[in-house]
C-alpha cells in the first residue's frame, strides 16, 4: 500500500512540475486530469484493505469528474473559443521550474517539521499537498491565460484534497460529496463564464490580462 501511495504522490509532484515547465495548454489539461485520477486513487491507499462503499463511490466520482469531465469541458472551451494553445507566462518556464523546485524543497522542509498528530502514512504526503497548493496558486498568478487560472484553481483544490486524504480527516461522506459538488459546479460556472466572455468580447482570446476594465 505504501508503495502505491508514494507512487501516486510522486505522480502528483511530477504533474505539478510538468505544468510549471510546459508551454502548451493541452499539456496542462492532461496533466491536471492525470493528477485528478491520481488523487482519486489515493482513496484506495488507506490501511485495512478495501475501503467502504461510500469511499469507493467518492473515489469514482472524483475520478470521473477530475479525470474525465473537466478535461472535456476545457478542451471544448479551447476549441470553440479558438484560443491559442500556448500559455503566455508572466514568469518564464525555466524560472517557473526553478521556483517549483525551491518550493518543493521548502514544502519538504516544513512538512518534516509539522507536529502532526497520529500516524502519517508517508513522509511525502504533507510536502506533496503543500507543493500542489503552491503550484496551483503559482499557476493562477504567473500565467496569463484564463484557462490556466481554472486549472490553477483545480490544482489548488487537488492540493487541499491531498491534505484531506493524507490526514484522514473525518469529514463525512455527505460533506465530501458536497465539496466535490461545489468544485464541480464551480469549475462549470467558471467555464461558462469564460465562454460568455469569449462570445461577448471579440478579441479577448482567453487572455485574462485583457480582463482589466474594472479597476480604480
Amino acid at each position: 500500500m505504501t508503495m502505491l501511495l508514494e507512487g501516486l504522490l510522486v505522480l502528483i509532484v511530477l504533474t505539478n512540475l510538468l505544468m510549471l515547465g510546459s508551454s502548451r495548454l493541452g499539456v496542462y489539461i492532461r496533466a491536471g486530469a492525470l493528477q485528478g485520477v491520481g488523487l482519486a486513487f489515493l482513496f484506495f491507499t488507506g490501511e485495512g484493505g478495501w475501503p467502504e462503499v461510500s469511499i469507493t463511490v467518492l473515489a469514482l466520482v472524483t475520478m470521473v469528474v477530475k479525470g474525465g469531465v473537466f478535461p472535456m469541458l476545457l478542451f471544448r472551451t479551447i476549441r470553440q473559443a479558438g484560443v491559442r494553445r500556448e500559455v503566455e507566462p508572466y514568469v518564464g518556464f525555466t524560472a517557473s521550474l526553478l521556483i517549483g523546485v525551491a518550493a518543493w524543497g521548502f514544502a519538504s522542509w516544513v512538512g518534516g517539521r509539522l507536529p502532526l498528530p497520529g500516524v502519517i502514512r508517508s513522509d511525502l504526503l504533507v510536502p506533496t499537498a503543500m507543493f500542489t497548493i503552491f503550484t496551483g496558486l503559482f499557476l493562477i498568478v504567473a500565467r496569463r491565460n484564463a484557462i490556466t487560472q481554472v486549472l490553477g484553481y483545480l490544482v489548488l483544490e487537488n492540493g487541499v484534497f491531498t491534505f484531506g486524504v493524507a490526514l484522514e480527516t473525518s469529514t463525512s461522506f455527505l460533506v465530501e460529496m458536497g465539496i466535490l459538488l461545489d468544485i464541480f459546479v464551480g469549475v462549470f460556472v467558471m467555464v461558462i463564464t469564460l465562454f460568455q466572455i469569449n462570445r461577448e468580447i471579440e478579441e479577448i482570446h482567453m487572455d485574462s490580462s485583457k480582463l482589466s476594465a474594472l479597476k480604480d
Binding site: Y90, L137, I140, S212
Partner: protein
C-alpha cells in the same frame, strides 16, 4: 408648573410643532404657524425653566425612561445649563415668530438670495428639531445622551442648510458644514469615550469625579478644544460658518449663529468641569485662540460684501471675544488670581448671552433686507432706513451693541473681560502678564475693527441713497418680523441695564468652574462687579446728556430757518446714487492693510489704448484658511489616495497574489 413638565415642554414642543407643521404642510400658512407655535411655546418653557433655576437656585432633574430598554435618560437643569437655556429659548422663540412672516413672504421671491424654492414646512420641521436638539444638549447628563443630542442638533442644522440645494454654493456649504461638524464630533466621541473609560462610567456625575494624570488631562483638553471648537467656530475651524449662514434662511442663521455655535462654548465649559484644575497653558491656548479668532474674524468680515457672510465672520470674532474671556479666566484660576478668574469667566458667559441677542437682531435684520431687496450684496443696498424704519432701528441697536459700545449690553461683557485682564496685570510677573496684554490689545483692535465693520454695514445698507432699484422700492417688513427684531433689540437694552445688577446671580453658574466656595465667589462677584455700577451710572448720564443736548438743539432751532438741500457734492450738479461711497470702498483701506493675512482674488479689467472699452473690476474676498490650509490639505489627501489606487489594478493575477501574501504574512505574524 413643575420642572418635569417644563423640561418636557421645552424639549418636545418644538419638535412636535415642527412635525405637525410638516403634516399640515399642504397649507403653507398653517404649517408656519404650527411650527412657530411649537418653537415659541418651547422657548417660553425653556425661559421659565432657566429663569427659575437661576433665580431660585437648585436643580431640576427628571428621568425619562427609555421605553422598555432599561436605559434611563437623565435630564437636568443645573445653573450652567439654565444660563445657556436663556439665550437659546429667547432667540429661538423670537426667531420662530419672525419665521412665520419671513418664510411666508419669501415664497416665490426673487431667485438668488431669496429662499423661494424651499418649503416652509420643511424649514419649520428642522428648525424645531434644531431647537429640540439644542435644549437636549444643554439638559442631558450623560455622555451618550450628549453625543446623541449633539449630533441631532448638528444634523438638524445641516438639513436647514441643505434645504435650498438648487445652487452649487449651497450644496458646497452643506458639505463643508457636515464635514466640519463630523470631524468635531469625532473628537467629541474620542473625548467622552476616553474620559468615560478613565472615569468608569458615562454619566456626568461619574465624569466629574474622575482624577486624571497630567497627560490624560492634556489630551482630553485638546480633544475637547477641537471638538467643541469646530462647532463654536474657533479659527481655523471656522470655515463652515461663512458658507453655512448665507445658505440657511435668515432666522435660522440667527439661531445658528446666535446660539447653536454657543453650544460649543457650553460644551467646552462643561468639559472643563470634568477635567479638574486647569493648568496655566490652557489659559494661554484659549487666549491665543481667542486673539486670532477675534482679529481674523473681523479682518475677514471687513472684506465681505455678502451681508450674511459678513455676519458669520463677525460671529467668529465674537466667539473669539468669548474665548478671550474664558482664556483669561482660566489663566486666572490656574495662577490663583481669583478675581481675574471670576471676571474673565463671567465676562465670557455674559458675552455669550449678549451676542445671542445682538447677533440675533442683526441676522433677522439681514433677513428683512434680503427678503425685501432680493440681494445680500451690501453694495446693492442703501437708504433703507426710510423705508424699513423698524428693521433699521433694531439693526442699529444691534450694531452699536455688537461693537461693544456703551451704553448697550455688548459693552458690559467686554468690560468685564477687560477688567479681568487688567486685574491680571496687578497680580502677575514677567511672562504671566502677557495673556493680559494680549487680551487688552486684542479687544482694543477688535473693537476698532468692529466699529469700522458695522458703521460700514449700517451706513451702506440703511443710510444714504438706494443704490439699486430694488433697494429703492422696498416696503416695511411685516409686523411679525418687526416684532421678532424689536424684541431682540429690546433684550439688548434691557440686558444693558440688568446685567450690572444681576451679576452676582452668576455665582452658581460659575461655581463648578472655580476652585472657591460659594460665599467667596459671591463676594468676588459683588466686588468685581462694583465698577459696573459706574458703567451704569455713566450710561444714565449719557442718556441724560443726549436728552439735554437734543432739547437744547431743539430750542435753538425753534423758530429759525431750517432748510433742505441736496447733499453737498462740491458743487457737482447731477449726483446719482451710483456715485455714493460703497461698502467695498469704505473698507478698502483696512482691507489693503490686512491683505497679507487674507487672500482673495481681484479681477481687474485690462484698460488699453486711449479710449478703452468699458471694464468691470470685481473683488472676491477669500479666506486664507480655506485657500492655504484646508483646500491644500484635502486636495493633498485626495492626490495621495489617487496615487495609492494602483492597488486595485484590475488584474486577477495580482489579486490572487494578495491572497497568498496575506496568508503568509498572517501565518508569520501569528505563529512566530
Amino acid at each position: 408648573m413643575s420642572h418635569a413638565v417644563l423640561i418636557a415642554a421645552a424639549i418636545l414642543l418644538p419638535l412636535v410643532g415642527g412635525l405637525l407643521g410638516r403634516l399640515v404642510g399642504f397649507h403653507s400658512g398653517l404649517a408656519r404657524l404650527t411650527a412657530a407655535a411649537g418653537g415659541v411655546l418651547g422657548g417660553l418653557a425653556g425661559l421659565g425653566l432657566g429663569g427659575d433655576i437661576l433665580w431660585n437656585g437648585g436643580q431640576a432633574i427628571v428621568n425619562w425612561p427609555w421605553f422598555a430598554t432599561g436605559y434611563g435618560l437623565t435630564l437636568a437643569v443645573d445653573p450652567l445649563s439654565a444660563f445657556f437655556l436663556l439665550p437659546v429659548s429667547v432667540l429661538t422663540a423670537l426667531a420662530a415668530v419672525y419665521g412665520v412672516a419671513y418664510l411666508g413672504h419669501s415664497h416665490g421671491g426673487s431667485s438668488g438670495a431669496g429662499h423661494g424654492a424651499i418649503d416652509p414646512a420643511n424649514v419649520g420641521l428642522f428648525a424645531g428639531l434644531l431647537q429640540t436638539g439644542m435644549v437636549l444638549v444643554l439638559l442631558v447628563q450623560d455622555a451618550l445622551g450628549f453625543l446623541f443630542s449633539w449630533e441631532l442638533m448638528s444634523i438638524a442644522a445641516f438639513f436647514v442648510i441643505a434645504l435650498d440645494d438648487g445652487q452649487a454654493e449651497n450644496r458646497s456649504a452643506a458639505w463643508t458644514y457636515l464635514v466640519a461638524t463630523h470631524i468635531g464630533s469625532a473628537f467629541l466621541i474620542l473625548f467622552f469615550l476616553f474620559l468615560g473609560h478613565r472615569a468608569g462610567g458615562l454619566t456626568f456625575t461619574d465624569l466629574a469625579r474622575v482624577t486624571l494624570s497630567g497627560q490624560a488631562q492634556a489630551l482630553l483638553f485638546v480633544a475637547a478644544l477641537c471638538g467643541f471648537g469646530a462647532k463654536a467656530g474657533f479659527v481655523p475651524l471656522h470655515v463652515w460658518l461663512p458658507d453655512a449662514h448665507p445658505a440657511a434662511p435668515s432666522h435660522i442663521s440667527a439661531v445658528m449663529s446666535g446660539v447653536m455655535i454657543k453650544t460649543g462654548i457650553y460644551g467646552l465649559l462643561r468639559a472643563l468641569t470634568f477635567l479638574g484644575a486647569p493648568p496655566a497653558w490652557w489659559g494661554w491656548v484659549l487666549v491665543i485662540i481667542g486673539f486670532t479668532s477675534g482679529i481674523l474674524g473681523m479682518v475677514f468680515a471687513l472684506a465681505q460684501r455678502d451681508l450674511k457672510r459678513l455676519l458669520a465672520y463677525s460671529s467668529v470674532e465674537n466667539i473669539g471675544i468669548v474665548t478671550l474671556g474664558m482664556g483669561i479666566g482660566l489663566f486666572g484660576v490656574a495662577t490663583g488670581q481669583t478675581t481675574m478668574g471670576v471676571l474673565g469667566l463671567a465676562g465670557s458667559l455674559l458675552h455669550v448671552l449678549n451676542h445671542a441677542m445682538f447677533k440675533g437682531v442683526l441676522f433677522l435684520g439681514a433677513g428683512a433686507l434680503v427678503q425685501g431687496t432680493g440681494t445680500r450684496d451690501l453694495d446693492h443696498l442703501g437708504g433703507l432706513s426710510r423705508r424699513m424704519p423698524g428693521a433699521a432701528g433694531s439693526f442699529l441697536v444691534g450694531a452699536v451693541a455688537i461693537c461693544g459700545l456703551p451704553p448697550l449690553n455688548g459693552f458690559v461683557s467686554e468690560f468685564l473681560i477687560y477688567l479681568a485682564a487688567f486685574h491680571g496685570l496687578l497680580g502677575g510677573q514677567g511672562f504671566a502678564l502677557l495673556p493680559s496684554f494680549l487680551v487688552i490689545a486684542g479687544l482694543a483692535l477688535i473693537g476698532g475693527l468692529a466699529a469700522a465693520c458695522f458703521t460700514n454695514v449700517y451706513g451702506i445698507a440703511f443710510l444714504g441713497e438706494p443704490r439699486t432699484r430694488a433697494a429703492g422700492e422696498v416696503g416695511a417688513s411685516p409686523g411679525l418680523m418687526t416684532l421678532g427684531m424689536s424684541g431682540l433689540a429690546l433684550a439688548c437694552v434691557l440686558l444693558a441695564i440688568a446685567l450690572p445688577v444681576v451679576l452676582p446671580g452668576l455665582a452658581p453658574v460659575l461655581a463648578p468652574l472655580l476652585p472657591i466656595d460659594g460665599p467667596t465667589l459671591l463676594l468676588e462677584l459683588l466686588r468685581a462687579g462694583a465698577p459696573l455700577r459706574g458703567v451704569l451710572a455713566l450710561g444714565a448720564l449719557l442718556l441724560l446728556l443726549v436728552g439735554f443736548l437734543a432739547f437744547v438743539r431743539g430750542r435753538l432751532l425753534a423758530g429759525r430757518e431750517v432748510g433742505e438741500t441736496p447733499t453737498w457734492d462740491c458743487g457737482y450738479a447731477a449726483p446719482t446714487a451710483r456715485m455714493s461711497y460703497t461698502g467695498s470702498s469704505f473698507t478698502q483701506p483696512l482691507n489693503d492693510l490686512f491683505e497679507p493675512v487674507r487672500t482673495g482674488t481681484v479681477e481687474r479689467p485690462a484698460l488699453v489704448g486711449l479710449f478703452p472699452a468699458p471694464g468691470r473690476m470685481a473683488t472676491h474676498p477669500g479666506d486664507s484658511f480655506v485657500g492655504h490650509l484646508f483646500t491644500p490639505l484635502f486636495t493633498g489627501a485626495e492626490t495621495l489616495f489617487q496615487r495609492l489606487r494602483w492597488v486595485q489594478s484590475g488584474r486577477l493575477q495580482v489579486y490572487v497574489l494578495y491572497i497568498a501574501v496575506t496568508l503568509l504574512v498572517l501565518l508569520g505574524w501569528n505563529l512566530w
